[in-house]
């Protein structure tokens, strides 16, 4: 997002809406009695919240044309944008939401997601690469129907397209399946890598209802020091194939 300097009246109403704190009120260099709002382009993730808030009475905020690789910021920050690779808006993956129809996750393994930058911090894509490469080294195969997979230069190693590394996004999800024998190793990687990233990441485990409390996956997660929240998502199983 950008601010049209000539239009900004320096009211500062847009500042608090920015999820990553990229908007600041500064002295106007040309007129030091006035203040102007400025967007730090390096920090801005192009989520569009400041524009949609409609608090700028002088309509100084605008979305410029974004080119590659900067356009990746918007794709992973503004949920109004549908990911062209998957046809899904938001972070671009159906994950477990439609599983009763697609059969994406099957009994005998677990689905996992590592959402880099969540909650409320944002992440540089090099941080995502760091985690993805560590997972790939242990044989993790990334979900093909997830837009992050299309950011990799080499999907087998998790290496990113180099021009993307410094782009900042609100969050992006690394999604994969783990076999029972892989789970401890994967959780250990995530634990070890915690100290190497500047951002945060949230971890999900997709499983079956009988797993709750008594299942092996949660037992392993708890043993490895991962908290299991008392709340989560439940697929009701009401979907079916309808396309002819």
């Amino acid at each position: 997002m950008r601010i049209e300097e000539g239009k900004c009246v320096g009211c500062g109403l847009c500042i608090s809406y920015c999820p990553v704190g990229a908007i600041q009120l500064n002295e106007d260099k040309k007129n030091n009695r006035k203040k102007k709002v400025n967007i730090d382009e390096d920090q801005c993730v192009e989520c569009g919240v400041c524009l949609r808030a409609q608090v700028c009475k002088s309509q100084a905020i605008y979305l410029p044309e974004l080119k590659w690789p900067r356009v990746a910021r918007r794709a992973f920050s503004d949920p109004m944008v549908e990911h062209k690779e998957t046809g899904v808006p938001g972070r671009g993956t159906e994950e477990m939401k439609t599983n009763e129809v697609t059969g994406r996750f099957k009994r005998g393994s677990w689905g996992m997601a590592v959402e880099v930058g969540r909650p409320g911090v944002g992440a540089r894509l090099w941080e995502l690469e760091l985690i993805a490469m560590a997972l790939a080294e242990k044989g993790v195969v990334f979900e093909p129907r997830n837009p992050v997979t299309f950011l990799f230069a080499d999907v087998k190693t998790g290496k990113l397209k180099p021009e993307l590394k410094n782009e900042k996004v609100l969050s992006a999800i690394i999604e994969f399946e783990v076999k029972p024998e892989q789970l401890r190793e994967v959780l250990k990687i995530l634990k070890d890598i915690s100290d190497q990233v500047e951002t945060v990441f949230s971890v999900d485990l997709i499983s079956f209802p009988e797993e709750e409390e008594k299942g092996p996956a949660l037992k392993i997660a708890r043993e490895m020091g991962f908290p299991v929240y008392p709340n989560g998502k439940v697929n009701l199983g009401l979907g079916r194939v309808l396309n002819k």
């Binding site: 671009g92 159906e94 939401k97 945060v200 709340n231 989560g232 396309n243």
Partner: protein
């Protein structure tokens, strides 16, 4: 898109926080899904009016629910504050059997109880295994409970602080502040009823 997972909060507060979403399965039931999604949204909205939205379109604080309902292509979200309404909605969705996937987020004990009462056997669940990495960067708990109600990260912690300040300075009511916080969350997954209760607690402390 795991946007209704990872909501933080005390058990008592989470007991009044259920999100329901629908989502088409691309390649399986997406052809002409708009009308089906609209029918399902009309059912859900009979049981709750707290929030309703579609991240490709917007939420009910940005436009009328009727306008949102006519634009669905992938899915929608609503929020509930009580189990009775949720159970009634789940029962009707099951009975109408429209064929698009439905996911409910909330405390597992409560959601499974609702499923049982609605005669639903859920096939799959998603667990949240916590926040990792540089946790010095996350908002303190009292702010995080608001921020995590928008899984896409669009509700700014700075805005939460500003709303608390504005309520304290009597510039805005608690209800208005809760709605202002719900606006950036395009999907309609943010629970303004719960937000108002959390704000009230914070400003009276």
């Amino acid at each position: 898109m795991t946007h209704t997972l990872h909501r933080t909060g005390d058990i008592e507060s989470l007991k009044e926080d259920f999100t329901m979403l629908t989502h088409v399965a691309r390649g399986y039931n997406d052809h002409g899904a708009g009308e089906r999604l609209k029918q399902m949204a009309e059912i859900a909205r009979k049981y709750t009016n707290l929030n309703y939205g579609d991240c490709k379109v917007g939420n009910q604080f940005m436009m009328s629910p009727e306008e949102i309902a006519n634009k669905h292509t992938v899915g929608w979200q609503v929020v509930f504050k009580d189990k009775e309404s949720l159970i009634a909605c789940m029962k009707e969705l099951k009975e109408k059997n429209i064929g698009i996937s439905v996911v409910v987020s909330g405390l597992f004990d409560e959601v499974f109880d609702c499923c049982k009462k609605a005669g639903i056997n859920p096939p799959l669940v998603e667990f949240a295994l916590g926040i990792h990495g540089n946790k010095n960067k996350i908002w303190p708990k009292e702010i995080l409970d608001f921020v995590t109600m928008c899984g896409h990260g669009l509700v700014s912690g700075h805005l939460v602080k500003k709303m608390i300040e504005d309520i304290t300075n009597k510039k805005i009511s608690i209800k208005e502040a809760a709605i202002e916080l719900a606006k950036p969350c395009l999907c309609g997954a943010f629970n303004p009823y719960r937000a108002a209760k959390l704000l009230e607690k914070l400003v009276t402390q």
